[in-house]
């Protein structure tokens, strides 16, 4: 299996010769797609951390029915086909969506913009961070938080000085997974944001269009995505290994 993958990767990465790899990267659309992909993936991860951390913390603490419903809702994008997610976002925030009149009133147009790319990526990738953070938060001993509370720590101080240092690895691996998923998002993005170079054309979309226009650019971008995916897996596996070593 290992040999097979190594051989495929070797052939795949050698297909565009290395001297032409750099020139392919300098192609205007390829450079724009790489820049846009990195920008949107990092923005998506930042938004997910800001909004997802309180969600994960609360869901790890509360077990009532309403929180179980929210938990199911958070999980939904992981099983939802990305194309359906794209249609759903379009029906909500599109020009004929349920908020169309309200958005038009304020002169806001979301579909087929970079914001739409970020929204689609957040919709699809956020559950990965939330689930990872939730598992980390749930693993913290209740007695530690109670001891801190008895010593006068408020909830923010408990989170900052007890919960965060004990769960940062789970959060970081969630961040990396979210970033990687956002980087590879295709289905929801092409439906909700379209495929406009420099504005909404991320790397996966450039690969899709590259097969019709410029195969070598598509192959170069594929090599970059494979490399990013490999690095992501190495980081996550190292973090998990490190966490297991600490726990046992």
């Amino acid at each position: 299996m290992l040999l097979f993958f190594c051989f495929r990767f070797w052939r795949f990465s050698l297909r565009p010769p290395f001297d032409s790899l750099l020139s392919n990267l300098r192609e205007e659309n390829a450079a724009k797609a790489i820049g846009l992909s990195l920008f949107t993936a990092f923005t998506t991860t930042a938004i997910t951390v800001v909004f997802g951390t309180p969600v994960a913390y609360l869901l790890s603490q509360k077990k009532s029915r309403i929180y179980r419903v929210v938990d199911t809702l958070v999980d939904l994008p992981t099983v939802l086909p990305p194309a359906v997610a794209g249609v759903a976002l379009l029906m909500a925030f599109g020009r004929k969506g349920i908020f169309a009149s309200w958005l038009t009133q304020y002169g806001i147009s979301i579909p087929f913009t970079t914001i739409a790319v970020i929204m689609a990526q957040t919709f699809i990738a956020a559950p990965l961070f939330i689930k990872s953070a939730m598992i980390s938060f749930s693993g913290i001993e209740k007695e530690l938080k109670q001891a801190a509370a008895l010593d006068g720590a408020n909830r923010w101080q408990i989170f900052r000085y007890i919960v965060l240092p004990l769960s940062w690895m789970g959060m970081l691996s969630g961040c990396v997974m979210t970033w990687a998923r956002a980087l590879g998002e295709f289905g929801a993005t092409i439906i909700f944001a379209g495929n406009f170079p420099g504005r909404t054309q991320t790397m996966p979309l450039a690969i899709y269009i590259g097969f019709e226009i410029e195969l070598n650019v598509a192959l170069t971008l594929s090599v970059i995505l494979i490399t990013f995916s490999f690095i992501t897996l190495v980081i996550v596996k190292n973090l998990l290994h490190h966490r297991m070593q600490i726990e046992y």
Binding site: G52, T53, V55, A126
Partner: protein, 59 residues
């Protein structure tokens, strides 16, 4: 022994009204708003597009 979190025991809000409900209200006002806002904002962001599909689907 399982000791529940209490702002009275923790030495905060010493002047807070006594009783379980009053304590809960004080805690909610102190820390809960931002967290609950995040939860409902995220839930709304996920739920509204799904609902939009059902609303827009012709029956």
């Amino acid at each position: 022994m399982d000791i529940p979190y209490s702002p009275q025991i923790a030495g905060q809000k010493a002047d807070a009204p006594q009783g379980k409900k009053a304590g809960q209200k004080a805690r909610f006002q102190q820390h809960g708003n931002a967290v609950l806002f995040s939860v409902f904002a995220h839930a709304a962001f996920l739920l509204l597009p799904i609902l939009a599909i059902f609303i827009k689907t012709p029956l």
